[in-house]
Symmetry: C2
Subunit: 646 residues, 2 copies
Amino acid sequence: MGYNIYTSVLDLPVSADLAVILTPARFIPEIITQCGKKGIKHAVIESAGFREMGKEGCRVEKDLLAASKRFGIRFIGPNCVGLINTLNGLYVPFIELPSEFKKGNVSVMSQSGGIGLSLAERLNNPGLGLSKFVSMGNKLNMDEADLLAYLIKDPDTAVIYCYLEDFKRGRDFADIALRSSKPVILHKSNTNPLSNIIANSHTAALAVDDKIVDVACTHAGVVRVQSIEEAIFAIKGISMPLLQGKNLAILSRSGGHAVVAADMCATYGFNLPQLHPGILEEAKNHFRAGVIKIGNPMDLGDIFDLNIYSRIVEKIIQQPDIHGIVYIHVSQMVIENEDSIQLIKKLNELSFKYDKPVAIIAEVPLSFQRMLMEKITHPFFMDPIEAFRALALQYRYASFRQKKSHTVKEVAFPLQENAKIWVEEIQQKGRQPLLHEALNLLDGLGIPTAPWKMVTFFSEARKAADKMGYPVVIKAVTPSLLHKSDQGGVTLNIRNVEILEKQWKEIHARFKDIVGIVLQKMIFASREMIVGAKKDPSFGPVVLVGMGGILVEAMQDVSMRLAPVNEDEANEMIDQLRGVKILEAFRGMKAADRHTITQCLGTVSQLMHHFPEIQEIDVNPLIFSDDGNYSMALDARIICSNVTSQ
Amino acid sequence: MGYNIYTSVLDLPVSADLAVILTPARFIPEIITQCGKKGIKHAVIESAGFREMGKEGCRVEKDLLAASKRFGIRFIGPNCVGLINTLNGLYVPFIELPSEFKKGNVSVMSQSGGIGLSLAERLNNPGLGLSKFVSMGNKLNMDEADLLAYLIKDPDTAVIYCYLEDFKRGRDFADIALRSSKPVILHKSNTNPLSNIIANSHTAALAVDDKIVDVACTHAGVVRVQSIEEAIFAIKGISMPLLQGKNLAILSRSGGHAVVAADMCATYGFNLPQLHPGILEEAKNHFRAGVIKIGNPMDLGDIFDLNIYSRIVEKIIQQPDIHGIVYIHVSQMVIENEDSIQLIKKLNELSFKYDKPVAIIAEVPLSFQRMLMEKITHPFFMDPIEAFRALALQYRYASFRQKKSHTVKEVAFPLQENAKIWVEEIQQKGRQPLLHEALNLLDGLGIPTAPWKMVTFFSEARKAADKMGYPVVIKAVTPSLLHKSDQGGVTLNIRNVEILEKQWKEIHARFKDIVGIVLQKMIFASREMIVGAKKDPSFGPVVLVGMGGILVEAMQDVSMRLAPVNEDEANEMIDQLRGVKILEAFRGMKAADRHTITQCLGTVSQLMHHFPEIQEIDVNPLIFSDDGNYSMALDARIICSNVTSQ
């Protein structure tokens, strides 16, 4: 075809902006070295055969990294199909593509070339289109955080779709997304043991705790989707003006579709407020047979002039408490096709004029749907459920944006200095903190604990019990136990000094390495929660709240967030629990003191955030008195790093 | 157009098989009378304006029913678009349709003409097509049970899709579906307050408890869907050979799609067993670059000859523990189009040859998808998630079919005679059963109860307490209370005779209408359940089991079935509870005696089934000892009909 072929990069007559490499893996370190010598600073490595193929691949990978580092070369891949920029016509994938992709403002960054190209293909849809495409492959040099940061800055990108099989820099990705002014849609796969093996052999991806991916998305306002289909719904949703609330009006030419749409409103958490009587009256004036009652949803089956539809929609969209409109266009008659196209165009105009979404569903024969695909320049939907899923995904993003724009109440951490001293002491001791040390930290941080005292002699124990009043609890403090109650280290509900003495002796006989006894006031309460935190390898500290009590714990009613959390977030976490209503006045009990939970969540999360030495915290149980007067922690466990583990 | 027009049915020169009526509602009773006089026995009434439009409509409805009854006329509607039979060309809807619908073996019965026609339109899809269509409207004469029975018998119908906004004869519908040899797909809308109003004005539909609709579907093997889209997935799924188990093999030309498909396997509860080493070896022999690891899912990205694909699929489909195959066809290259079509045809053949489903996903450009729609005669999918949803819906049906073919263990009801005597006594007394009477019934039915005695004098109480041993409980038996513990009618944990006497006096002072006291042994147990039953207006008796204890009840962890249930069904109900694992050996407690629960569920359900006088039963709590040795009911409440309610 008139182009020269060279057998070495060094033979090139000039340098280049970009090297695209597709040779067997073992030759690539040398080719990168040649690129470096030739002054080429950017590469796309498409070949597979690295880490995902085992030991030999890992060795080649090491050489590749060394070569690229030596010359400061940034590269995409390996094990990918590379880049596309529809605006300047750069297409480097090694596979034949059917034609150019439709131009648009959606950029795609994908750990799988196949998924990325499928998504790009489906952007060939009214109102959508592709801007930049990058297949990330093994992410050996440029990873998801680098590319996300790039696309957020890119002026030709308005919406970012990201497909990942693992995270290389999860917390960085989340923090970059959090600061983004552009919507980020994440399709994170490889969520379970069935996919872990194939994902590892596909792009060398490792498994991440999938619940924490959800938590990170909530944190960063990333819209998570589970399929390509759902990604397209999300993109369509976000391409409409954003919802400022959850109130919709539904208009339909078929009563049945209106009923189904009303069901979906409820399923997706939207409301259907009443329409102004004036609007209803006007619609009614156009009715022919007068056999349909009118409201919201509005069944337009009795109006046959489509011009009237847009007039009704314009009235409704101006009603202040209506935040968006769903219009189900049912039409079987060919003679209506031209009017239908005009109506849909008009509704799109109204949507942008009044800055409220109008989701249009074309319940029409396939042939007319295809015609609409040609003639309409904004997204529309093929089924009401698509529209509701799109609006629900959009609302998730819109409400995150709204929330982000408010000033939020930070959780105070005034006692950080106490924590610092505590952590330093544990580090000096070089061992995991014992029960009394964990309780000491809670006290130092202002988290209420049940009255307790660390004692080593029985005389002390007797004095302490007299002072706090029976019944009491004793808990063995031993390095070997780290106070697991199911191993006999705890005796509950001791009612008098005789029983105390007996139990004291028994517990000392049971544990040879006993350091002392925590004597604690026995507290009775029907309601318990757990507060905990741990460090995730991809996303760092994560904080958790759950309903407690052994029977309730079996139901795994928990809610998580990335640490630190502020008071609003802590309240959100609690509200997400299925069992939250028992914290209100419930079956004769007074409302629980909720502030203790939010304070405990905030403090624990700040602790994890500021002190990387702390690996894990469990405050369990946190109890709430039936009379609503007090709430306090009864037990705590803390695991640190850089100490001997016992 | 050369046809005569008559102004009265009486003027017709001959009689007719069917009258199709579309006049204002008020004229219809007279027209039906004319039909009757003319010997016309069947009608479709398309007009609206009856019950759904209020009082005047109700009056017309009454006249219509009287007229049709007088002449024995069966009719469809009113308020509907009528019938279609694609096979003989009968099309009666009043709206213009684009053309004839594609012929096929799916029949549609829909309470909404709009939804029914949308569904029929979407049957214009490879492998699908419409047989009969009926829009049911207000179901004034022919209802969902009549039409379902008709379509089950219809030789031209293989699959039945049904859209309902309410049930006129819910239990009949479920029982007819249960006996059906054809799959029934139900889209029941009008599930919540937002849709209730519009559904009522649309087809005069009333709300039904939506959870009980789910329960009825489970009972009858009806596949419930929530949208037209999902109905199409279900129809596609059921059009494939049925799964005999949950083991799939996934083949994909893209590693990313394989990872996502493996995730979906987990989401929808499928497994991915290992493939025989011989099969893997054979596939590997065809690899070109050797840069892909092979397993299940199988990434075929390294094989470029499509003929080899069908050979590999044929090997896999013969592996006995593989029940179905998902094949994701990714192809962007136009030169592959012809080979792709041949491959898809070949895979369809293999599916029917080996009687196992092969779900094909065409991840191809839109233009090629359209070509496939023309050339392929079996269903295929546009997105992996569609295929998995179709297989999951199909599996629900297939496993119901399998289960139905097994002989099931009925729950014995040997003590029915005791129940009969009890019910007769209550009916004679003419009042709601009191606590001791309810406990008597449980005893009579062999459901274990904690030791109890009905006493009226303190001397009796003391003697009974001495005999059963302290601690004891006392419960006031009064018609006004029907033993609600939160009104002070119960005193727990009475430890000796002095407290018993004091509490005896207090409880007598509190309730003036006291009939006696139930004295009961105080039983301590960590685990509680509730068993209950009630009568649903549409579906008759429904039985329920749930995790108990006030904190756990807040989480509404319950499972329901239509009564009666056999032992398998009772076990299924228990297994569906989120908290089921606490019934196993749990945190030091022994496994709970599960047989008591299944026996209690079976007995309560038989009781409801055989004795329509019983409206509601609550056995709450049913407790399980920590040592696993016993389980027993502590309390019961029974509500009867035909008695004065107090």
